[in-house]
């Protein structure tokens, strides 16, 4: 490899946030021009930190400290000025909506072009070029908050291309993306390959991307390990393994018989409209004790609205919802669930608010400790997977019989998703869960599965696809393969 083909070189990198331990330890990574790399790893393993380090944001915004060498092209990262750096490297973060500085997409991209080129004519020229390359014509006159997650990321890629960067870094680009969004992102990667751009993707939900990249790394214990060969070899075993994993865990069909179980909720002929537009149409749904119900729908299909209608927070335009038990709602942005400064305070508060006494607190402490969560820790410091599990435990403690979980799998590894489902099943919790992706589907776990499309609910036909059990197995094998 010629040295001038090297786009990025990281050698013996150590990094820590102020007052914390090192997150990255002796990390090495090289990237050639036009190369595409996927980095996987546990929640909290340092993926986002590495993305921030490579764009220097970890230092300028978060005040971190580092030692080691980071070179972009042949130049030290710290010797490049801000403007030059962000013309060469672009970060597209987890929440794409935070990267807009204008409300209308056209204004947002044009203003960035104007800032880079400092001339109206040049800005218009480069604006037209990136719009053409990324095919976002139809999105230009929309408000950014009206875009779906996939559309917002596509717009941000267009914006990033304005400065013609050599390297694009995506931090969990598939988070919140439905299956169509994932296909769009794969197309985008093809475009970036065609344009010769280097790409680093940090992603939990790696299954759809395994064959879209040149190299795969696992970030563990602050280091990067090349797992390309192992991951591809293991992924070839999928067809025989899928069936075995499915058969191994078939639930006793008798358990799903609704006759012997208490009805928790029923909805008949539900319509919900905003300004005359029907978001939900003629929804019929019954939920029984111990049901785990999955509702799949693309972004913007009305899943969150349906949950709010069922919870009684939104009043249906037409139809009836009958609730026979307490219901709790766990939002996609899990931070919004917590209100106290420690886990123990959360337990105390929920028990007191429901007048459940000291036994409730004791039971809560026991349950939380069995999840390996420190009761004195702030809930806001827990990993995403732990936050969801804690929320489920708190809801269960409150005697709410039905939980409504909005996209609880976003931001979790496949293993964490599988563990959450097993936890729900094991604790006999009744829940309705929405999801916008089926790339890891665990058919046998669900009592019923539905598709929400154009506001209408129908039975979901899954067909042949990779299961969550398979994806979790693959991820664990990669981790263990490295460990052993």
């Amino acid at each position: 490899m010629k040295s001038n083909d090297l786009l990025l070189e990281v050698r013996n990198l150590y990094f820590k946030y102020p007052g914390k331990d090192f997150v990255l330890r002796d990390l090495n990574l090289t990237l050639e021009k036009g190369e595409h790399v996927l980095i996987i790893g546990d929640t909290g393993s340092g993926k986002t930190t590495l993305a921030r380090v490579l764009t220097r944001i970890a230092f300028t915004v978060y005040g971190g400290e580092a030692r080691g060498v980071i070179k972009i092209g042949n130049r030290n990262l710290f010797e490049i000025n801000n403007e030059e750096l962000f013309e060469k490297v672009h970060l597209i973060g987890q929440n794409p909506y935070m990267y807009f500085t204008e409300l209308i997409v056209r204004d947002d991209i044009y203003n960035y072009a104007l800032r880079i080129h400092r001339s109206h004519d040049k800005a218009v020229k480069s604006f037209s070029k990136v719009v053409e390359a990324t095919g976002i014509h139809k999105l230009l006159d929309r408000y950014f908050y009206e875009l779906s997650g996939g559309e917002a990321r596509r717009v941000l890629v267009a914006k990033a291309l304005i400065s013609n960067p050599d390297l694009l870094i995506f931090d969990e680009p598939l988070m919140w993306l439905d299956e169509k969004g994932v296909e769009d992102f794969k197309e985008l990667l093809k475009l970036l390959r065609f344009l010769g751009k280097g790409v680093i993707v940090f992603e939990h939900r790696f299954l759809p991307l395994l064959r879209e990249v040149d190299r795969i790394y696992l970030l563990r214990d602050g280091k990067l390990v090349d797992v390309t060969e192992l991951a591809l070899k293991l992924s070839r075993t999928r067809s025989s393994l899928r069936n075995d994993l499915e058969k191994a865990s078939v639930v006793n069909p008798g358990e799903r018989n609704s006759n012997n179980r208490q009805k928790l909720l029923e909805a008949h002929g539900i319509y919900y409209s905003i300004n005359g537009v029907n978001i939900l149409k003629n929804i019929d749904l019954s939920i029984y004790e111990n049901d785990l119900i999955l509702i799949y729908g693309l972004n913007g299909s009305g899943k969150t609205t349906l949950l709010k209608v069922l919870a009684g927070y939104l009043k249906p335009t037409k139809g009836i919802v009958k609730r026979y038990c307490d219901i709790m709602y766990i939002p996609q942005n899990i931070i919004l669930f917590y209100t106290e400064d420690s886990v123990i305070s959360e337990i105390r508060e929920i028990c007191r608010s429901r007048k459940l006494g000291e036994n409730c607190i004791k039971e809560g402490v026991k349950k939380v400790m069995s999840l390996n969560i420190d009761i004195n820790e702030s809930p806001f410091n827990l990993s995403y997977g732990q936050m969801v599990k804690l929320a489920v435990t708190i809801a269960n403690l409150s005697k709410a019989k039905l939980l409504l979980l909005d996209e609880p799998f976003s931001g979790s590894t496949y293993s964490d998703r599988a563990k959450l489902l097993e936890y729900l099943r094991g604790a006999s919790i009744s829940a309705l869960i929405t999801t916008s992706n089926l790339d890891a589907y665990q058919g046998y776990m669900w009592s019923k599965t539905y598709r929400l499309e154009d506001g209408e609910l129908s039975e979901l036909g899954i067909g042949s696809r990779d299961t969550l059990g398979y994806a979790a197995w693959l991820y664990e094998e990669i981790r263990n393969g490295i460990g052993n």
């Binding site: 409300l103 204004d107 300004n275 919004l336």
Partner: protein
């Protein structure tokens, strides 16, 4: 509650049709209404004339909102009006109940209308002037640094409102309506997170102050006429009195 908050946020979002008019004509209208409002307070002693003047201003505001932002935002504006009228009625009823000197119903209507007209005039400053124009104007006035802050905050309002709506649903179902004040904690934390993300965004993309203000458009005459009507309305009504 959640949908009301969301609809309210849309009142602060600028229109897609701004380029049809010059920046100056768009700024002039809300300022004309605000000046007129102050002027009416000073010259009118008769509450009925005041209501007549306010209704004219409200009609102008709703027509402009309807053109620039469509029917939905006009409805939101009317809902806001209903809210202020309701608030006035509540104060009126309570006054009777607890023995205070109650305002006359016509004064309640007058007060509610004044608030609505004033609020909508301020909201027009956001609906009719884009963030890039605000940045340019504030830079010209010597507030370049604040213009960045201002534009970043305004650009995130719809997203923050969406999260607020989610938080209200969650906490209400978790603790019930009596402890809804607890919603403050996750919202403050989320705001801190968002602030850091915005800082990232600003570091990567920055904001441009190079935008040129639009000085002339043929359509401007419509807004100038509306501004003049706003300004002379109090004078005309006063001459009738």
């Amino acid at each position: 509650m959640a949908s009301a908050i969301r609809d309210f946020s849309y009142i602060l979002v600028y229109s897609r049709k701004l380029e049809d008019f010059s920046t100056f004509s768009r700024i002039m209208l809300p300022f004309s209404i605000l000046i007129s409002l102050v002027y009416m307070r000073l010259i009118f002693s008769d509450v009925y004339y005041d209501i007549l003047g306010l209704t004219t201003l409200l009609f102008i505001e709703l027509s402009v909102i309807s053109y620039f932002r469509g029917f939905r935002n006009t409805l939101n504006a009317l809902r806001l009006m209903a809210f202020f009228v309701l608030l006035g009625t509540l104060i009126y009823s309570l006054s009777h109940f607890i023995g205070w000197v109650a305002p006359e119903p016509v004064d309640v209507i007058d007060g509610a209308l004044s608030l609505v007209v004033m609020f909508l005039a301020f909201s027009l400053l956001f609906q009719l002037v884009s963030l890039k124009e605000w940045r340019r104007i504030l830079s010209i006035l010597g507030f370049k640094q604040y213009s960045v802050l201002f534009s970043l905050i305004i650009s995130q309002i719809p997203i923050v409102i969406f999260y607020a709506s989610e938080a209200f649903t969650t906490i209400r179902l978790k603790y019930g309506s009596r402890k809804i004040h607890k919603v403050i904690v996750p919202l403050v934390l989320l705001s801190l997170q968002s602030a850091r993300s915005l800082m990232e965004s600003y570091t990567i993309y920055g904001v441009s102050h190079e935008h040129k203000l639009i000085t002339y458009r043929a359509n401007d005459v419509v807004l100038y006429v509306a501004s003049v009507i706003s300004m002379i309305t109090p004078l005309l009504i006063n001459s009738l009195a």
